[in-house]
Symmetry: C2
């Protein structure tokens, strides 16, 4: 059987940074070539980054991507890499789609190309377009209608992009009909809790359907709310795992494979879903037999808590760095939310770049101030204290605020303080809100919701506790100082906006709240279904009512790392003006 | 020829308020029946409101809509309206779609039904689904695959929903193939500047294609950022306008039509796009000939400025009322933006419900305070003054802020003041930002951008001036007091955050800025195309750079009335983390 050494580049790219991404491809292509690879691959839309959203509708951006692709092909050859076939994702456009009302302007396509010998040897576009959850690809792209196959060193390699594997039909059966010896899919698949397991099952199933080895190359990194966790997988035609890369780490997966020789006469014509086989021969001659050096193996799997924590660190780091910042600012209340955010930030960008502000009011307890100081001591972050008492007094002298208005005032004065420091010194503010309080609106608009990024906005409060305990235990296991003060974990959660206040004055116990929210928010279940699952009807009604009416607050919330299928981001879009109150039905 | 009296109910509905919308349908059905109508129609998704966004994915909501439809049919008959066929939009689901990955959960459909004799006589779903601009219908709906035709009093009436008319193919040619005597389309078509002209051209063209009279029933009202402007149109098969309703007004368009008798044997089978004719006979017997009473006619057309102003008033009124509020709060700087917002608010909900706050700082000019007071005098809105000087001093004593940080502080202290009053007294805060400043980021996050609704966020500054002048002239023509102080219109725009500051210190002249933004934002043109249109390259670069980098600020901006094809709302979605700088290309 012919051999092939694959170089699957599980790396990050930056949305809009076509020049920078080009450099990245060239660098890793040299890396692959130096290690003797016969075929190198890069993730979905590598050249433009992913997702580009409405940039896909701007002709100048599509033109720039297409021009960069041609230039990249030439440059690779100029730098001596012309004989290495490179598969790279980019933003292209359909040449054949006739303009029609309802079609994306300019007929853009989510494309990949094979660069070889200084030329673009083959271009193709994603066939199945996802338009659910965080995806809007019918808004942006015209589907591809070919089954691309390249002959590399005597092996026929069928190509696909991401969703092509997720939906039935299309390129998986087409790869079988085309007689491919390898199906290579390039991806930008956003992280969700447990998605690694789903992905593994999928890849194994699709390999059996395609009847050949399947290489699934994943992107790693972060883009706004999305995290790409990596987890590149190669499985045999029987579905057995040959190689699996780690999550949340850039890496080139090198792998030597024995693959079936290409048929003397490649199949042609239309196959599954009317896809037309586009066969391009790059090189007929198999590689001289060589001793396999890279034989695969699986990176150690993360525990669930380590995985979520890793997603938060990756997401925050990407957001800060890709937006050109170096440091972050966090209001530290001594509570667990801001403590976890601080720990994540320290892990993401280093303690020297993390600035905390303790902003006590008359209602702040001594232990809160102490807990913030203890957090700073444990992590080494920079801490300062700004009392909000004088500003509070100045406002109360002008406006006679009471009740909730008075509570919110304190929170907003902290927001103004953080933004003032941020504008003066250049850090970005992190919002400490978690998914539970965001869901039920237990936060102050322009107060604790102030910030450019909300690292834990998709993390329920019970998970906040779990992650804090996990992070501390992990530190202990390494012989390091646990970052989060035990007292921040142990004490009852409180906003400290009035004397003796605790969260449970206003909210149900978090363990109940979070389970109800998980059914309502993440799984779109209705009131009756949630009650049928064993929850108290009155309590369910109350939680759903709170969630139904807090939509307007979530519209003002900053983005944050997405860890579930449905958080409060672009995967869950509800009207603000909306009279449907699930909590009042039934 | 058989006659038919149509009742086209150009009305509003409320998203999620199924019970309330049901009452509305019953009330207007009685109104139509009392006036002798033979067929009554209601807008797209009348029962649930439109757009329902992710509510479509919640089974309990779909179930509630479907149950309400059946109950409505029975209730209409119980109230003596069983003989009046009623066409009404609702949220349904496909019974035939097999679950598959990538299809919206529960296979929801954008449906309409014909209610007759206490039963649901016919159900059908929108065939063409829009998934561009503000529309995401591939995310929510499974397309319909029938060509519904009802025989009403001896006339075959073909039915369609909104996008079915906009895209080629489908129900327009199918209506011709089905031999329909009337094509009735129910719509919820969001307002855009000049869309009324486009819509008229479309309807005329489609009538000729369908080869029959075409009745286009439009929704009127507002939902979050969307305004529905009405403009119901009926044209003959030659494209000649028979009737046209006003914009921005609820009204039942009654119209007597002579229509061709239905063929003895209705066509059947599959027609255009594979749509299968679903023919239901409600009543074969034509109406006894009667003298036509409602013979059509066109409502007077609005000027462009009156139309935009009408959209702003409609949008704001809907947002306030549908969210259960009665009054609004506006920070009044004496400038033109807040003055126009106040004028719109007064027209929308009455001066007694409009509260203004003048919040002078050390940098506020005397004429600014005077202009705010003059605005209050002219409009009759409620005005109070809260100086932000003491709060400013309290902050500056704790934090040594300079430059932009100091400027922003003043703006944020005003935001906190507005939110404090709002929380205490219950008004919603309106943000005064216009599209020009929103585009280039000339605003303070959590400062002047604070608010639940931004009425003019989709209005360029030059249009702000035009609307202010138009509103004043319109008042004068009626012999009323012009609401906006002449000085607010005449003086150079300034944020007054430092001594002697004017907008042109930081920004190009608004007439140039707005024309460049219109090309860049609304029409997605690139830098080179804009320069080729005759603008200075350096200036274009500067404007595009500002716009490229202000995305994060727009994410924190409240919703506001949409008046253009592409504003800063869900019709324009760009990554926050994004290295593409159109201004730096070329």
């Amino acid at each position: 059987m012919p051999q092939l050494r694959l170089a699957l580049n599980q790396i990050d790219s930056r949305v809009g940074d076509i020049a920078g991404n080009t450099e990245t491809v060239v660098r890793w292509a040299h890396h692959a070539s130096a290690r003797g690879a016969h075929l190198a691959a890069f993730p979905e839309m590598m050249l433009t980054g992913y997702p580009v959203e409405d940039l896909a509708l701007r002709a100048s951006f599509v033109d720039a991507s297409r021009a960069a692709l041609v230039a990249l092909a030439k440059r690779l050859a100029d730098e001596g890499l012309g004989e290495l076939p490179v598969v790279v994702g980019y933003l292209g456009r359909s040449e054949s789609a006739r303009p029609r009302f309802g079609q994306p302007a300019g007929a853009p396509q989510n494309c990949a190309a094979v660069l070889y010998g200084g030329e673009v040897a083959l271009r193709f576009a994603k066939h199945h377009l996802p338009n659910y959850g965080v995806f809007d690809e019918f808004r942006y792209f015209v589907p591809g209608d070919t089954m691309p196959v390249i002959r590399v060193r005597g092996v026929d390699v069928a190509l696909a992009i991401c969703e092509d594997l997720w939906q039935d039909g299309g390129r998986v059966p087409a790869a079988r009909a085309a007689g491919a010896g390898l199906l290579l899919s390039v991806n930008a698949s956003p992280y969700e809790r447990d998605k690694d397991d789903t992905r593994l099952d999928l890849v194994r199933r699709r390999a059996r359907e395609a009847g050949c080895t399947l290489a699934y190359l994943a992107m790693v990194g972060g883009q706004d709310e999305l995290v790409f966790d990596g987890d590149t997988i190669v499985v045999g035609e029987d579905g057995e795992v040959i190689a699996r890369a780690p999550q949340f780490a850039e890496e080139c997966v090198l792998l030597d494979l024995d693959l079936p020789a290409a048929p003397a006469r490649a199949p042609s014509g239309r196959v599954a879903d009317g896809l037309e086989i586009r066969h391009v021969t790059l090189c007929e001659t198999p590689v001289e037999p060589y001793p396999a050096e890279f034989t695969g193996g699986e990176a150690e799997r993360l525990t669930d808590d380590a995985e979520i924590y890793g997603a938060l660190v990756t997401g925050l780091r990407a957001y800060v760095e890709k937006n050109g910042f170096r440091s972050v600012l966090i209001g530290l209340s001594g509570g667990i939310d801001s403590a976890l955010v601080a720990a994540v930030a320290v892990d993401a960008i280093g303690a020297a770049n993390v600035y905390g502000v303790s902003m006590p009011s008359a209602y702040s307890s001594d232990h809160s101030k102490g807990d913030a100081a203890e957090l700073a001591r444990r992590t080494g972050l920079n801490l300062r204290t700004v009392s909000i008492a004088p500003m509070f007094d100045a406002y109360m002298a002008s406006l006679s605020l009471t009740g909730l208005a008075e509570e919110n005032l304190q929170s907003r004065l902290r927001g103004v303080t953080l933004m003032g420091i941020s504008n003066q010194e250049g850090q970005i503010v992190l919002a400490p809100g978690n998914k539970s309080e965001l869901a039920v609106g237990y936060s102050t608009l322009y107060g604790d919701s102030v910030g450019a990024y909300g690292p834990i906005k998709d993390v329920y409060k019970t998970t906040v506790f779990r992650l804090a305990r996990w992070r501390n235990a992990d530190a202990e296991a390494r012989g390091e100082t646990p970052p989060i003060p035990e007292n921040s974990i142990a004490k009852p959660p409180s906003a400290e906006l009035r004397p003796g206040q605790v969260d449970t004055d206003s909210l149900p116990d978090y363990d109940v709240l979070d389970r109800v929210l998980e059914m309502y928010v993440d799984r779109d279940q209705g009131r009756e279904a949630i009650i049928a699952a064993g929850f108290d009807a009155e309590l369910v009604t109350r939680i759903l009512k709170l969630t139904d009416t807090a939509e307007y607050k979530r519209r003002q919330y900053p983005p944050g790392t997405k860890i579930s299928a449905k958080g409060f981001g672009k995967d869950r879009r509800l009207p603000i003006t909306n009279r449907w109150r699930e909590g009042e039905q039934g």
